[in-house]
Symmetry: C3
Subunit: 151 residues, 3 copies
């Protein structure tokens, strides 16, 4: 099954890939590996803003992380790489959070679970999840990715 | 000398590898490189919690970073990769800290020094150390790793 | 044109590469890829300190990020790799910021724009920019890099 078919089966429509908000590119491929820039959560074109531990609930944070994951897929698709994914190698999950919020792994699962839904075993990745002071555009979550491509 | 023998010589017993606290895997290998997920410090099964600059001393932070390094080694061993390490390429050290704590490099040395003790020159790595707002389970330190494997 | 010549044309003199402030090395090469340790901004030997959103202006932050980029180039030069750069693959930009500062991408552009000035298309990279609670030595910005080398 193609990834496009799998997305359709899951009822997932990818968002329009967001243009970088600055001087960089969304994806760089080197040595069969795609490095995807940090993606923040856009829903219907609006950034999902706020901080975990303050004005963003755990459930909203998970939805934001999932939206980051969808944007990663959208960037891979825009680069013509979505059907070439061999393995999601690593996700870096940055969660905007107050100093007393400690459930970053549950938030990041929004992106991680998506990868497993879409790619199955090839979506199982290494991960680091941390709580940061603030994110671009007041985003609640940012996720970047290292993805191995079929040769 | 095997790494197992070196650990014995150093009097180091690796901890039980911690199960991921969420939807990801501890290690992914691609192209001869092992990506190890962010590991937090467990000592005797309990997370070393708190923040540098507040309730965690520099010395405690260094011990937490060393414990993160031990967990990285434990994950490599559990994946059957410990004796295959060619080079520790990069460590990412995330230190939970107040906005006015600036000794992250000294904290991170707890993990870095361990790598050099265990692997010698092959343990010399690139590194980024930063102070984050909060970490999973209120951990004081989290460290992830990129490790090159013998082919 | 060599990169040295391009730097001269741009009127850029690289700083003296800073010694690691701890137990790691500035650059590790594996598999044709150089991993450059997190570099903080030194100007005339002094660290550019402070926090975006508090005592560091956007313009100062951009200058700090550019100084981090210059230090990355200086480390590559010291390792004999500057003329071997095939592609700047990824920058990680860590901006010391208050919880209510959200212009990290503009800050990080100080480093990103430098890469494009120096390397042209080969300087276009993937990037993640986040706001952290604090950085080593109270640095305002820290940037690390993954750089592909000519074989």
């Amino acid at each position: 099954m193609t990834i496009a078919a799998k997305l359709a089966e899951l009822g997932i429509t990818l968002p329009k890939p967001a243009a970088p908000v600055a001087s960089y590119v969304p994806v760089v491929v080197h040595g069969g590996v795609a490095y995807v820039s940090g993606q923040i959560a856009f829903v219907d074109g609006a950034v999902m803003t706020g901080k975990l531990g303050a004005d963003v609930s755990l459930e909203e944070g998970q939805r934001a992380a999932r939206a980051c994951g969808l944007m990663i897929l959208a960037q891979l698709e825009a680069a013509g790489l979505l059907e070439q994914v061999e393995r999601v190698v690593k996700l870096g999950a940055f969660v905007s959070s107050t100093p007393d919020f400690f459930d970053h792994p549950k938030v990041a699962n929004g992106a991680s679970d998506l990868m497993e839904q879409v790619f199955g075993g090839a979506g199982q990745h290494a991960r680091a999840a941390v709580g940061v002071a603030a994110l671009p555009l007041n985003a609640a979550v940012e996720v970047d990715a290292i993805v191995a491509l079929k040769s």
